[in-house]
Symmetry: C2
Subunit: 377 residues, 2 copies
Amino acid sequence: MTFFQLQKTCGNSAARAGVIETGHGRIETPIFMPVGTQATVKAVSPEELEAVGARIILGNTYHLYLRPGTEVIGRFGGLHRFMHWQRPILTDSGGFQVFSLAELSKISEEGYAFQSHLDGGARHLLTPESAVQVQMALNSDIMMCLDQCIAYPAGREQAAAAADLTTRWARRCKAHWQAAAECPNALFGIVQGGMFPELRTRSVEEIAAVGFPGYAVGGLSVGEPKALMLEMAAHTLPLLPAGAPRYVMGVGTPADLIEMIALGADMFDCVMPTRNARNGQLFTAAGTLNINNARYRDDTAPIEPGCDCYTCRRYSRAYLRHLYLAREILVHRLATIHNLHFYLRLVKEARVAILEGDFPRFRKAFYAQLETGAGGA
Amino acid sequence: MTFFQLQKTCGNSAARAGVIETGHGRIETPIFMPVGTQATVKAVSPEELEAVGARIILGNTYHLYLRPGTEVIGRFGGLHRFMHWQRPILTDSGGFQVFSLAELSKISEEGYAFQSHLDGGARHLLTPESAVQVQMALNSDIMMCLDQCIAYPAGREQAAAAADLTTRWARRCKAHWQAAAECPNALFGIVQGGMFPELRTRSVEEIAAVGFPGYAVGGLSVGEPKALMLEMAAHTLPLLPAGAPRYVMGVGTPADLIEMIALGADMFDCVMPTRNARNGQLFTAAGTLNINNARYRDDTAPIEPGCDCYTCRRYSRAYLRHLYLAREILVHRLATIHNLHFYLRLVKEARVAILEGDFPRFRKAFYAQLETGAGGA
């Protein structure tokens, strides 16, 4: 079984369509992965995820390692049965959360030493080996190497050191993964290098030399200006092996996805559609709308006329606004369903355009519709 | 179309089985009505309510009148289309919430003058006529008369005055309802009288003399001892017209339902299954369990082995406990589905036992199973 098959490159752009095969089914790319941090994509059920077209979701190793712990999830043979999700799962390495959430985290050649953000007391050590080990216990279909994340802005020296450490850790991750007898799951390498093109180039060369079934571009969407993010992606993505999937971590807005796809990226994850849904911000082709806006008080129209998601087929803006103002949790679910449906429809339509060989026209139409601003509020 | 048909009285007890016909479908009794205060039964969708066997839900007039307001709901032709619920709806009159939630409420012969608990500023007047008028705008299938609720304990004089006012208001409610051209919906009278049997008797006589399609026993489950509640119900229920449905408001625990059914009650509503679900308390035939208990840490069993609700068919106690501790809102939904399924299965099984002419045996089996305490935690 080939892990990744590149089906088509657009022709008029670097946009690609492909297929990833996993033990829990196939994933057509480009794909967006809803974020399910704590063994649940917030506010929605597995059946609702399937209904909006989710083919793969992301789990956060750091959170799951601390709670409920791999021992509990191990009792279920992994994350799939624990959370009743049958399709593929990608897990991150935990490194980013240690960096951003844990207390008193200290990095060394060995790994991250940290205290849990939950109890504040227990000390933990996250090494390249344990990061892979935990992800194996979760039985995620796609595991990520432990890498070193750096804040933006960072100097050249710091970025170089982090990229170098990431390379050494990538070798240890791969060795640990290969030592496991017949692990059916994939391990992706992560490219770092900050906002320095030459460091990005070197990181790609080193990580590709280690060799993985797939590659991620890390360290983007960490606070840098949008133009810089796109510049780094435009520099890095073409350097990655064409025969492996390319995952841009933590990205992004609908327009970010369109731009990254145009640059040849295949996979994305972001909390934006789910988190913004819970804050009442809804995505439409004509822009976002905030459901608490008074203009929707007695609006009998759905969020996005023509949308065939569960929410738009049944509920009005007036009802959603009422639930939002009344703090009724059903609105979190209904808004999340719509936003995820929007994101997943977007990548699906992008894929169709790529297969038809005309992604640039699709991209143009996307911006033309966005500029009508009909959804703006 | 007959509004209510009494199909069977148990024979060995006063327990009854019947059918209520409404413009939104039929309801087999005895029935439990999930509470949907703000145009949503908290945490669950209409489809999930149907799946757990809900045939009718309750809406709170006070809340809906204040937010989103009858003007907004009127744009949808009523509550059914606003919240996408196709089956029957019963609404209360709003009186109890004015009494318990509103600020500076003042009662007079005319009605309740109050300030909204939401904005605190706007003054409102809830009269017998406006209570019916608002419920007509909501298009609820079963409307309730405005009554005067009293706190427990209350003296005889106060209870008598409240019951008398309730009777005078019942006449005004009925007159307003009858004046409406061809209102397809039913209006229920409410019996008051505090904890005084002779006042209860007088209230039943007066309310029955006004004449309604159905009758409710109000003023129970307001803080009185359980034995007193049952004593009052045992006194009042047999006095009510046998040919009309009997609704005991705000009751109760599973055992309360069994006792009230044995006394001849047909309809119930209570926030207990939904509210307790959100606090992690789950109902089983062997008693309640608290899902946050450490004993469920790696328990792969469902909440209640053998239960065929959505939650028990898919999820383990360990997963539910994890979601609960992680404050993931999916657990509110999963727990609510189970608890409502439990309540609705209970009344369904009670109905079967009544139709088979042996409710006392069912009641005995209910307590025998409860006493095994297998679910206790």
